[in-house]
């Protein structure tokens, strides 16, 4: 990993002289994955101001970009912010510089998995992963299976049981998953390996 932070990142962030090229490595990867140039952000904070989840994040959305600008990869990829982002696109819509922070968040999650950084919000990562596993298997998402498998993976059996049963009773959770015939084709779309995936 291209760690550039001093051992004690808490007290002082030391930018080493090699930070330039390495810092631009993170920037380059982000740009490659989602097309956004993090240097366009001028740190106005409008994204943070409008983000519905910012209050729960360990670092503010604008700080995700700031760290990325400095190439402080470890700090970005291990933040809870990148996982908590709900993908609502409020930031992108209002950003005066037209930076699609929502997409930068996507890219950071992808990078975190790629580089094997343990997601700070494990439950969210597991959910996304379970969801995609489901799509890969069936071509569609079967909500009952999804929820059940997800709950098993996170060992969180009870939190939504009540509403789950209610839904089931109202006939909203189909028992049998519907399958897509072109499943092979869909698997091909998944061709590139996703690290951290449960299905290797």
């Amino acid at each position: 990993m291209t760690s550039l932070i001093s051992d004690n990142a808490q007290s002082c962030c030391v930018l080493s002289p090699v930070q330039g090229p390495a810092g631009s490595e993170l920037k380059r990867r982000i740009q490659e994955l989602c097309g956004e140039n993090v240097l366009e952000c001028y740190q106005c904070g409008e994204c943070t101001a409008g983000c519905p989840v910012a209050y729960a994040m360990d670092i503010a959305p604008n700080q995700v970009l700031r760290l990325a600008q400095l190439g402080l990869e470890d700090e970005v990829l291990s933040s809870s912010a990148i996982w908590l982002c709900a993908g609502c696109e409020t930031c992108y819509t209002r950003c005066p510089k037209g930076v699609a922070l929502s997409r930068v968040m996507d890219a950071c999650r992808q990078l975190a998995l790629e580089r094997g950084v343990k997601p700070k919000e494990l439950s969210i990562a597991k959910f996304h992963d379970q969801f995609l596993t489901e799509v890969r298997r069936f071509g569609r998402v079967h909500e009952l299976t999804l929820t059940a498998l997800y709950k098993m993976r996170t060992r969180d059996f009870f939190s939504d049981v009540f509403t789950g049963i209610q839904m089931f009773l109202k006939g909203k959770l189909a028992l049998i998953p519907s399958l897509v015939k072109g499943r092979d084709e869909i698997r091909k779309l998944f061709a590139r390996p996703r690290r951290g995936s449960s299905e290797k």
Partner: protein, 298 residues
């Protein structure tokens, strides 16, 4: 008018009412919806959360099939619509990506068809006019808070059929069917649906903010355009009420249900039974509700 219909995963299960009301209303308005054969999941939030390319490739497959039908696509679910539209825009603007993805598709998508949301289709001027002509029971007394959520409006560069900051299409449709939409201020705030299962504490808070604002401004129901919003708003309102120490109980409808109700489309009313939150308080507020013919009432 004929469209390729993309129900998406949830319209088959959790959001059955949305799917059914959409088809019923479309039929009543003479809009033909042909389900896209062998469609697949759009990948939803998880798709783009973990894999940018995949999030374009998945909808592209379905778009390719629709293109072979020669029809534009209607995707009622706001989340599906957002993903499909994003894929459409990406495939149209990035030639390299297009050929890369098309290489793995049985039916390539060349960007010849476009994706529309159900709200967009049903509130097109000529369609809305025909809705107005078909209204049998104006929903006077219903004061919905029109909730657009985030994915239908944002980012404007991709979707952009309504104003992202001051959307009007849904309010307009409600006025056409005789309801009196309230002025409120959270119509385009995010409810956190994508974290609904994995981080419900956040969803509960956001849902609470939204419902509280709707009630404060006199809404007697919320009307939505998205199954994810619906699930959240219904499932989390009890917990949110507890958290805020407020009574946040409020019925939630799909906008298509209300169009159908006003147009007296047979088969609409029975959908209300499957709502998780009892909708009777809202229905009772409608002046004419009791006088509507019992036949439709079943």
């Amino acid at each position: 008018m004929k469209y390729a219909y993309y129900p998406g995963c949830s319209l088959e299960s959790t959001a059955r009412e949305f799917g059914e009301s959409t088809t019923l209303v479309a039929e009543a308005l003479g809009i033909e919806l042909v389900e896209i054969p062998d469609w697949n999941c759009c990948g939803a939030t998880s798709g783009h959360a973990l894999d940018h390319k995949l999030s374009i490739a998945l909808p592209a497959r379905t778009l390719g099939i629709a293109e072979s039908m020669g029809l534009d696509v209607v995707a009622p679910c706001a989340a599906c619509y957002n993903r499909m539209k994003s894929a459409e825009v990406a495939m149209k603007s990035d030639e390299a990506l297009r050929s890369e993805i098309n290489a793995s598709l049985a039916k390539p998508y060349e960007g010849k068809i476009t994706v529309r949301s159900a709200l967009e289709v049903f509130t097109a001027p000529e369609v809305l006019k025909s809705v107005a002509e078909n209204v049998r029971y104006p929903l006077r007394g219903l004061r919905p808070a029109c909730y657009y959520g985030c994915l239908l409006l944002r980012p404007p560069r991709v979707v952009g059929f309504d104003d992202p900051e001051a959307p009007q299409r849904l309010d307009e449709a409600m006025r056409v069917v005789g309801a009196e939409p309230v002025e409120w201020y959270f119509k385009n705030e995010c409810c956190g649906a994508s974290l609904g299962i994995s981080k419900s504490s956040i969803t509960v808070k956001l849902t609470g903010d939204i419902i509280s604002n709707a009630k404060k401004h006199g809404a007697n129901c919320i009307v939505t355009v998205c199954p994810l919003c619906m699930t959240n708003l219904e499932m989390r309102q009890a917990a949110a009420g507890k958290m805020r120490g407020e009574d946040l109980t409020i019925p939630v409808f799909y906008f298509t249900e209300l169009l159908g109700l006003a147009m007296e489309v047979p088969g609409i009313r029975k959908l209300f039974a499957s709502h998780l939150v009892d909708v009777n308080s809202a229905l009772d507020a409608i002046d004419q509700y009791q006088s509507m013919p019992a036949g439709v009432n079943s």
